[in-house]
């Protein structure tokens, strides 16, 4: 089985979010970048396929040279090859078009992308990729088994989950549940050394027009101070929620 895992290079979840250039650009100053958490669950699931069922695992990212440490980390975790499409990830459709080209060239059986990146939260790349490729697609996937060319996937739905059956080739929008938090691997020294020797191929982007444009950013207005209620005066809390906040 040939697996492609799509990797977003995103600010660490604890990052302070600020903008520069008249609020048109994310301020990367002092920000640590990581593998997008939703992608990392998928990457780890891919490693399990490799270990248990025999599979090759490639990783791909759309971005500049600054994203290569994130791809190297994926190689250190155990991916075999990395591909970087040398382009700025301008919008979800543009990214999906680039991924589609890489996917077609590599003839992958299974493509795993995170359900959304934690920076732009577009949540559209996996579905767009599947639609461009005319491939089967399961979003918000929290469980995946493959036998031969048949896949059984569990999808998180509002208020529960459903089990789906489909065939490869398949695109997955993955998230926690594919593997657990405790299953995530921290690369060891041997993995990091080996990653240096693994191929990281840089390819040029295909022509594609972005369909949306992030014009500017804005931070939420600062919040007012909390209203404290004494633990022996909870009737007051109920009153405030009813009369002031009007939520009960």
């Amino acid at each position: 089985m040939k697996i492609l895992v799509c990797i977003s290079h995103v600010p660490d979840t604890t990052s302070k979010i600020n903008f520069i250039d008249g609020d048109t650009k994310f301020d990367t100053n002092g920000v640590q970048f990581v593998i997008n958490p939703n992608d990392e669950f998928g990457l780890t699931r891919a490693m399990w396929f490799k270990e248990k069922q025999g599979a090759s695992v490639d990783v791909v990212n759309i971005g500049g040279a600054e994203t290569e440490p994130t791809l190297r980390k994926c190689l250190a975790i155990g991916a075999d090859n990395a591909i970087r499409v040398n382009a700025e990830a301008t919008d979800g459709f543009f990214v999906a078009k680039q991924l589609a080209k890489v996917a077609q060239d590599g003839e992958y059986d299974l493509i795993i992308a995170g359900r959304e990146s934690i920076d732009y939260n577009g949540g559209m790349v996996p579905g767009m990729l599947a639609a461009i490729l005319k491939t089967n697609f399961v979003n918000t996937c929290i469980g995946l088994e493959v036998e031969g060319t048949t896949a059984t996937a569990i999808r998180e739905i509002d208020g529960g989950k459903e089990t789906l059956k489909t065939n490869l080739p398949l695109v997955i929008g993955g998230q926690k549940g594919l593997v657990e938090e405790s299953d995530l691997k921290i690369p060891n020294m041997r993995g990091i050394m080996m990653a240096r020797k693994k191929p990281l191929t840089v390819v040029d982007p295909v022509t594609a027009d972005a369909e949306t444009k992030a014009v500017s950013f804005e931070k939420p207005a600062p919040k007012g101070a909390v209203t404290l209620v004494a633990p022996d005066n909870l009737g007051e809390l109920v009153r405030l929620l009813h009369n002031e906040a009007k939520v009960i």
């Binding site: 919008d91 767009m128 979003n139 208020g159 089990t163 926690k176 992030a214 931070k219």
Partner: protein, 322 residues
């Protein structure tokens, strides 16, 4: 030309998110000087939509569409868009909408903006405000394509009643086998509980509750309030509660009217996930817990004393308001 809205129903009843999407579609239609057409699957009870400004409903009744299929629903909606010559399509942020909308976007060569929180700031250029960086920021996005899809953030626009006289038209899209290549085998859904996605009120517990055996407090409080129950990431990682209850940056997003956090310290990832909630209440014995900075109302106290007492006060309140 009409604005098209996908209105999701559950066993024939429109979801609140669908009515909110309809309200929003009406707002966009007013800006564009046009009408609203809704697409509804496998229900005849579409009258509820007339109260939210939907002028016309295309009803699609097909047994093959009884189980949700993202590909088939996207195909059907695409054909409805062509029929109505719609240029703006509105969907909610439900799991199903987020599943089908990217497929629809590719079929229609439409730009798609998700997590939109307000009516467009302008229609030429077509610009919307959406959340980004998991609610830590807003992003003003221009959609540059002829056809545009807006994914409305849950509970951001609200329900706006606007009664219109409505026409209903049966619509039979032609579907193909490829639309059903992903087959639903089984659905496992708690029907007696409010889901986090649909809940007006969410009650959430963290590590401060000390163990899964104490969760009855959370459940009792949720029952009094008609709320959904949720938990912090450590709680789900330790297996005290199912993953489906984990809310936060890597869990489920919450956009309820009221969010009550009990024994949750308020890590930045947790706060990001619940920030879209309108009113936040924290109960924690540590006055230094970061959640107090994010909350509207707070109680510094022992959850094991405060929560039972709060349940009593709420029962008294409900009884006197009944």
């Amino acid at each position: 030309m009409s604005v098209l809205v996908y209105t999701e129903n559950e066993n024939g009843t429109f979801k609140k998110a669908a009515l909110e999407a309809a309200s929003y579609a009406k707002g966009v239609a007013d800006m564009l000087g046009t009408s609203v057409t809704a697409v509804a699957f496998n229900t005849e009870e579409v009258g509820a939509l007339a109260a939210y400004g939907v002028d016309k409903v295309l009803t699609i009744n097909d047994d093959k569409l009884k189980a949700f299929s993202a590909a088939a629903y996207a195909d059907a909606i695409k054909q409805a868009v062509a029929k109505e010559s719609s240029e703006v399509i509105v969907v909610s942020s439900s799991a199903d909408s987020k599943y089908l909308a990217p497929i629809l976007a590719v079929h229609l060569e439409a730009g798609y903006a998700t997590n939109v929180v307000a009516l467009p700031e302008g229609v030429t250029p077509f610009k919307v405000k959406r959340t980004a960086f998991t609610n830590k920021a807003f992003n003003h996005t221009e959609i540059t394509t002829a056809i545009k899809i807006i994914g409305l953030s849950t509970n951001s626009f609200g329900l706006k009643e606007h009664s219109v006289s409505q026409t209903i038209e049966a619509f039979a899209p032609s579907l193909n086998d490829a639309d059903f290549a992903v087959e639903v085998v089984s659905v496992d859904k708690a029907t007696d509980k409010v889901s986090i996605a649909d809940a007006e009120i969410v009650v959430s517990g963290g590590r401060g509750l000390k163990g899964p055996e104490n969760w009855h407090m959370i459940e009792d409080l949720a029952t009094v309030l008609g709320a959904a129950t949720a938990c912090s990431k450590p709680v789900s990682d330790m297996g005290w509660r199912p993953h489906g209850e984990h809310v936060g940056q890597t869990g489920k997003p919450v956009a309820s009217n009221l969010y009550i956090a009990i024994g949750v310290s308020g890590a930045i990832q947790h706060l990001a996930g619940i920030n879209a909630s309108k009113v936040k209440v924290v109960i924690n014995n540590d006055p230094e817990a970061p959640f107090f900075k994010a909350a509207d109302y707070g109680v510094v106290g022992d959850a094991f004393e405060v929560v039972p007492e709060l349940i009593e006060k709420l029962k008294e309140f409900k009884a006197s308001n009944a």
